[in-house]
Structure formats: structure tokens, C-alpha cells
């Protein structure tokens, strides 16, 4: 069980010196063995929430509890070792670090070809073609995104934070992506997404707007709200609503 209690996050505006609130008094509970999709317009604080959960940023006030333990002050490394795993929205590039080395760092041990095939085939990549390639600009955006997801799978864990996992992945590969979520069905999975096909995989949907959690609930109930407020949720929901 992962809980956010009264989480507020604000930053100082570089230009006028005033504090700008990104998240305001957010209370949320993420259950075990459930997929939660966070959605909402750009700039509503979705990615910030993911960063707070992984420990990249510390909340201005409020607490984060994981299985009853206060982890608000835990570092990124400590959270990773407690089972938090994150796939970045923008995959990070590394000159000289190969796909194989990155996967080995993720799972904390040497990987044989079978192990690498297992991670990479789940994101639609053939291990033989990729393991010796550097995770740098020689790979396309889509390839980097797939490798980012493979790295999360290789690491494993209890809480998966996936920030726009579909970004850069062609529509034809959506089924593969959905299969990855199915593979994580016994974990706590939190996904930031705008895509209806990903929203459909959710057990629970959370809607953010204007720094605030607008509503959260079961997928079926939330779809009704989203279709009534098309300005909040964009093309696919709007088209099908």
C-alpha cells in the first residue's frame, strides 16, 4: 500500500521570486496489485507526482507512506532498493554504456543471453541486435523508450512508476505495451498517460487539473466524467465519448 497524505509541492519562480504551487494538498492511496493511470492536461502536476514518489523531489509538506513506513525522507537509491522502479518519460542517454550493461545494472547481476532476450523481447526488440549497442543518440527515440521499459522490467520491484510509457512508441506496438502491464498485474503500477488504450487497462483512474487532484475512482466511473469534460481529456476519449 502506497499513500500520499496532504502532499503539497511548490517551487520558487525564478523570474518574480514568488512561490508557485505545482501540487496542492494531494491525498491518494495506491492499492497493491492494481494499475492506476494518472491523466490530465499538460502542466497539471502528473509527472511531478511521479518524481515525488521516486524521491527525485521532496514535497514541500505532507508525507509519503509505503506499507506503513514513512519514506518521505528516503533517497532515490533507498526507494529503488525498497522496490520502487521508474521508467522515465524522456529516456536518459549514456555515452559508452551498452544496453547489456544497463540491463545488468538494473537487475544487479550478470545476465546471460536468455535473460536479456526475456527483457528485450517483451518490448519487441531482438537481444542480439541491441545488447552491444550504446544507450546513446545512435538509437532512435522509440528504441530508447523500449529499452527504458526493458530496464524497468529487468530491475523488477513492487511499485512501478511509468511516465508516459507510450510516448514515442508506434501505435502498432500498443498491444505489446498492454502485455507489459498485464505482466505487472501483481504489482502496484502507476502510469501517467493520455492514451485511451492505456486508460482502459486501469483499475483506477486519477484526473489532475490546475495543480489539484480533480477526481479519482474506478475506470468505468471515471470514463463518464472524462467524456463529460472533453476539455480535460483530449483526443481519443473525446472522439469516442
Amino acid at each position: 500500500m502506497l499513500e500520499l497524505k496532504n502532499i503539497t509541492y511548490s517551487v520558487k519562480d525564478e523570474q518574480n521570486g514568488k512561490r508557485q504551487t505545482i501540487l496542492q494538498d494531494v491525498n491518494l492511496t495506491f492499492g497493491d496489485k492494481a494499475i492506476t493511470v494518472i491523466t490530465g492536461p499538460n502542466g497539471s502536476g502528473k509527472s511531478t507526482l511521479i518524481k515525488l514518489l521516486m524521491g527525485f523531489e521532496k514535497p514541500t509538506s505532507g508525507k509519503i507512506y509505503f506499507n506503513g513506513e514513512d519514506i518521505t525522507d528516503c533517497s532515490v537509491t533507498e526507494r529503488a532498493r525498497k522496490g520502487f522502479t521508474m521508467a522515465f518519460q524522456q529516456p536518459v542517454r549514456f555515452k559508452g554504456i551498452t544496453v547489456k550493461r544497463l540491463l545488468e545494472m538494473a537487475c544487479g547481476k550478470k545476465l546471460d543471453m536468455d535473460g536479456m532476450c526475456d527483457c528485450l523481447s517483451s518490448v519487441g526488440l531482438c537481444a542480439r541486435n541491441y545488447i552491444d549497442r550504446a544507450v546513446d543518440g545512435t538509437l532512435s527515440g522509440g528504441e530508447l523508450k523500449r529499452i527504458e521499459l526493458a530496464t524497468a522490467i529487468a530491475k523488477g520491484g513492487e511499485v512501478f512508476l511509468l511516465d508516459e510509457p507510450e510516448a514515442g512508441i508506434d501505435l502498432w506496438s500498443f498491444e505489446d505495451l498492454v502485455k507489459i502491464f498485464e505482466r505487472l498485474h501483481d504489482k502496484t503500477v502507476i502510469i501517467v498517460s493520455h492514451q485511451q488504450r492505456i486508460l482502459e487497462t486501469a483499475d483506477k483512474i486519477i484526473l489532475f487539473d490546475n495543480d489539484k487532484l480533480v477526481s479519482a475512482g474506478r475506470k468505468e466511473d471515471m470514463f463518464k466524467i472524462l467524456s463529460q469534460r472533453p476539455s480535460l481529456c483530449w483526443r481519443n476519449v473525446k472522439e469516442n465519448g
Binding site: R79, A80, F88, F94, I97, A106
Partner: protein, 305 residues
């Protein structure tokens, strides 16, 4: 050969004892061991310190090891080695020098190497510089490498200096002929008060000639590195120079590129990036469970891989 010699040989040339094939092992200014065969002949110079290495035409898939060991202080070893590579030959040359200086006086090795590659010849030249021990004496390398490539020749230079060298001033000069190709992969790590200067001057003289120079450097402590390159395109050619540096602590890296398209048909590119490790790289590896120090080490190891 004692244990120190064996350890140095392993570090600089991946050698476990005496190698097979042609080799020349030099220790403290004197010949320690040599083997020369009909394909790759090694001959001592008569007028100065050094050797001629003559690779016969059409010799393929052969290697020659020419490591140098320096295990005493107050010693400056300058050696002139000339390499004559026959037409269509394809060989690997493993050079490298290890200094083990316990003394409070300086130890210096200056290898002046000149390569003459005939038509269609190919050479992979691997050079590692390494120094150990904490004697106050400096450990210095000032190598000069001159490369002359005839038509269609290929030269791959892999130069690595990964620690302990107090001061180095490396100079590399190349003249690249028609459809010939020069590839340089340089990796330098400095720490403490170490200084490293590396200077390339490459003339792309022949039509269709190419040069690709990639220098990766990491500077720690209060060390300083200076990268200078001068790429001259005198014909229809392609040249690319890339200098990437990671700066840690209070270190400094200076990169000075120069590209000169003498011919309007020359296409020359220079890329340079110097800075500390990107915060997002550290965060990514920490999110995999590595500590900040482990993440930094992994990024540097990969960068210098």
C-alpha cells in the same frame, strides 16, 4: 622479468608473460627480449636508440608487441621506432608503456613513433600508458606519433591513459592519402595534480580521404587537460573531430578545435562538449538502486569504455 614487470605488461599490453609472434620488450632503456620472424622483422637502429619494424606485404592477421617498462627513477628514455607496413598487410601493433616509480626523482618515456603505410595496408595500433607507485618522482610521457597513409591505407589508433601519469604531452601528426582512412579513439583519465595535453594535426591530402577522431576525457581532483586539434582538408575529403570531457571536483578541461577547409570540397566537423555528469544520468542509475558514487563510477567507466 620480475613480478612488477609482469604486472605492468599485463596492464599495458594484456600480456601474460612472453607473447607469441614478433615482439620487442624494452626495460629501463635496454632490450629485455625480442623475437623477429620473416613476416614481421624487428631490427635495432644503428644511429640512435630504437627499432625498425618491417611488415612484409600481404601479411595478414598477425600482431606485434612492443611494450616498454620503466621501473627506476631519475631516468629519461627516448626511443625512435619506425614502422614500415607493406602493401595489403593487415596487422595489430600493441605498444604501451608502464612506469613503476618508487623514487623521488622523475621517470620519463618519450616514444617517437613513425608509421609508413603502403597502399591498401591496414594497422590497428593500441597504445596504453600507465604509471604506478606514490614516489614523489614524476611519471612523464611525451609521445610523438607520425602517420603517413598511402592510397587506401587504414590506420586505427587506440590510445588509452587511465591513471597515475603525472604529466603527458602527446602529439599526433597524420597525412592521409587518397581514399585512406584514419580513426583515432583516445581515452584519458587524470586525477590529483596531473596534467595531460593532447595535440592532433591531421592533413587530409588525398581525394576521398577520411579522418575520425574521438577523444573522451575525464578530469578529477585538481587535474587539467588540454585538447587541441587542427584538421586540414586539402582535397575532397571528410573529417570529424569529437572531444567529450567530464569534469569532476576542481578539475579543468580546455578544448581548442581548429578546422581548415583549404579545399572547398572538404567537409569538416568538430564537436566538443565539456561539463560535469548530467544530473539525470545520476538519477537514472540511482533509480536502479545504485548509490550516487556507484552511479558516478558506472558513468565514467562506460564513458571511457
Amino acid at each position: 622479468m620480475d613480478r612488477t614487470d609482469e604486472q605492468l605488461l599485463e596492464t599495458i599490453a594484456d600480456l601474460h608473460g612472453i607473447p607469441e609472434g614478433s615482439f620487442n620488450i624494452r626495460k629501463n632503456g635496454k632490450l629485455l627480449a625480442r623475437n623477429s620472424d620473416s613476416d614481421i622483422e624487428i631490427v635495432s637502429k644503428k644511429d640512435k636508440d630504437g627499432i625498425d619494424i618491417i611488415v612484409e606485404p600481404n601479411v595478414k592477421n598477425k600482431s606485434v608487441h612492443i611494450p616498454v617498462l620503466l621501473t627506476v627513477g631519475d631516468f629519461k628514455d627516448t626511443v625512435y621506432n619506425d614502422f614500415y607496413i607493406g602493401e595489403n598487410a593487415d596487422v595489430t601493433i600493441i605498444a604501451g608503456c608502464g612506469i613503476h616509480n618508487d623514487a623521488c626523482s622523475d621517470a620519463e618515456h618519450d616514444g617517437i613513433h613513425t608509421f609508413y603505410l603502403s597502399k591498401n595496408a591496414k594497422v590497428r595500433y593500441v597504445e596504453k600508458h600507465y604509471a604506478s607507485r606514490n614516489g614523489t618522482g614524476k611519471k612523464v610521457f611525451d609521445p610523438i606519433t607520425k602517420i603517413y597513409l598511402k592510397e587506401n591505407a587504414q590506420f586505427i589508433l587506440e590510445a588509452t591513459q587511465l591513471g597515475g601519469v603525472t604529466y603527458t604531452d602527446r602529439k599526433t601528426y597524420a597525412t592521409v592519402g587518397k581514399r585512406a582512412q584514419l580513426t583515432v579513439k583516445e581515452k584519458i583519465l587524470t586525477d590529483n595534480e596531473e596534467r595531460a595535453i593532447t595535440d592532433f594535426k591531421i592533413k587530409l591530402s588525398g581525394e576521398g580521404s577520411r579522418a575520425d577522431v574521438v577523444s573522451r576525457s575525464v578530469a578529477r581532483g585538481r587535474s587539467m587537460q588540454k585538447f587541441q586539434s587542427d584538421l586540414i582538408g586539402k582535397n575532397e575529403c571528410f573529417g570529424h573531430v569529437e572531444c567529450d570531457g567530464i569534469v569532476l571536483d576542481n578539475a579543468r578541461i580546455i578544448s581548442t578545435p581548429k578546422i581548415d577547409a583549404v579545399s572547398p570540397e572538404a567537409s569538416l566537423i568538430h564537436e566538443a562538449a565539456v561539463g560535469k555528469i548530467a544530473g539525470e544520468q545520476l538519477l537514472k542509475l540511482m533509480s536502479l538502486g545504485l548509490s550516487e558514487q556507484e552511479a558516478e563510477d558506472a558513468i565514467i567507466r562506460g564513458f571511457l569504455n
